[in-house]
Symmetry: D2
Subunit: 143 residues, 4 copies
């Protein structure tokens, strides 16, 4: 499963170099993640209300070519790893209609409860774990 | 009472016009408000933990001259109105060492509880209300 | 002429009060402005390339009810004043499907050249001035 | 050479999880980079005015423990690699007075001209290259 999220580069997201500032990519990845989770039929907001938080442990982003104001972007997201305590998402950012990504990235998340301690998703939310498990697409296979 | 907060314009805060994007002024006003509240000896974080939130009802900002990357700014804050249910702050943004403000603004806040309903600060937190009351400096007097 | 822009509240746009932080509304207004300008057939990026910038002179925003993570919002924009040197936009933010706005606002822009000095849009870009002129919808009439 | 930048976590930087949102770390790294460059006696703004830009090629960040509203943070920056076309910075984010970092990160930058093509810093800005060269502190040595 791969989700696709449409993003239009906002003026506020540009910097004095005239390009979209790099800190926005983490925000766009997150918008893509929101859409991915929603597509599984769960909703990230709902997950949080049931007590499961997924704070970031690691973020990596590779910037290949700049994005500009008013560019229409497509951000893809997929789950590339899932264990009972961690989850990895991979992303690609494209200018609409182009085949070469402008940027790629990964985020690794801990699965924790409201107390920021590990949450046993497999045991405590088996429905959500199973749904996520079905979407996993390891890196190698996705090439 | 007037508080003074030092802000250095960040690269991420600039836009493709080459100036600090206008949406940052609301964030700087808030940093100034945080310092003002801290200066009264309370701490805004503490206030929230005791159940008092102060969400924005109105924001106005007048932009007189642009601020640029690496500019050292001084943001002043003071309370210009206080009632048992509302509170108004006024701000001025200066480039360090200059007398003419780059921007001025006001924020009007509701005083509510965690349920977003009015909070009777005068009755339920008389210590904080009194401290804030002492800082009020109506517009006219401050000229 | 009124434009309508769809915004989904991002996680990064929320704050520790659990609501969309007020500084985002200025960014959403700008996204709406971008769509409005594009709808006239011009494109704000193009306008800037032809040498016309429209920096903010004033921003006012009234916050009526909070927006939350994942909320689908509609931001309307229209031009409520236009002179050869200034332009005013008015906005309303709605949760999709609702009739009462969550927020309303206005932005007043100067029309300047790259040197930040007044730009005679009426004389130097009569095509754009005329297009914008046709869209003006003063406050009173819009009620 | 290591620079130290003081950051106070802003309310706008928190998210509905109650912690500083991860996208801010890239912004704080950049503020630290600005201070580092200034400390060499150059000034990043000046570098850009002389035609040298340093857009991001890669960003990695490891989040160890959350930062909260009003936390006083220290962000350290140092140059860990420098070639005539690329430059790597490494960062650590500490809560003031603590020894274990809340986060660590790296940014890899291309050295390019205004046309986004490689800029021969060693040849075209020997003064700046030399100054930066003197600050390099490879990873191993810094432990």
């Amino acid at each position: 499963m791969v989700s696709k999220t449409k993003i239009t580069v906002r003026y506020a997201e540009t910097d004095r170099m005239g390009i979209a500032h790099h800190s926005n990519y983490a925000v766009w990845f997150e918008a893509a993640r929101t859409d991915f989770i929603k597509q599984t039929g769960i909703g990230y907001g709902q997950m949080e209300e049931r007590g499961l938080l997924a704070p970031l442990l690691e973020l990596t982003c590779r910037f290949i070519a700049p994005a500009y104001y008013e560019d229409e972007l497509i951000v893809t997201a997929r789950v590339t790893k899932l264990t009972p305590v961690k989850m990895e998402f991979s992303y690609e950012v494209f200018r609409e209609g182009e085949k070469k990504p402008l940027a790629t990235g990964k985020t690794l998340h801990g699965l924790v409860g409201r107390d920021m301690k590990p949450f046993h998703i497999k045991k405590d939310m088996p429905d959500i774990y199973e749904k996520l498990q079905m979407t996993v697409q390891p890196e190698e296979e996705s090439k």
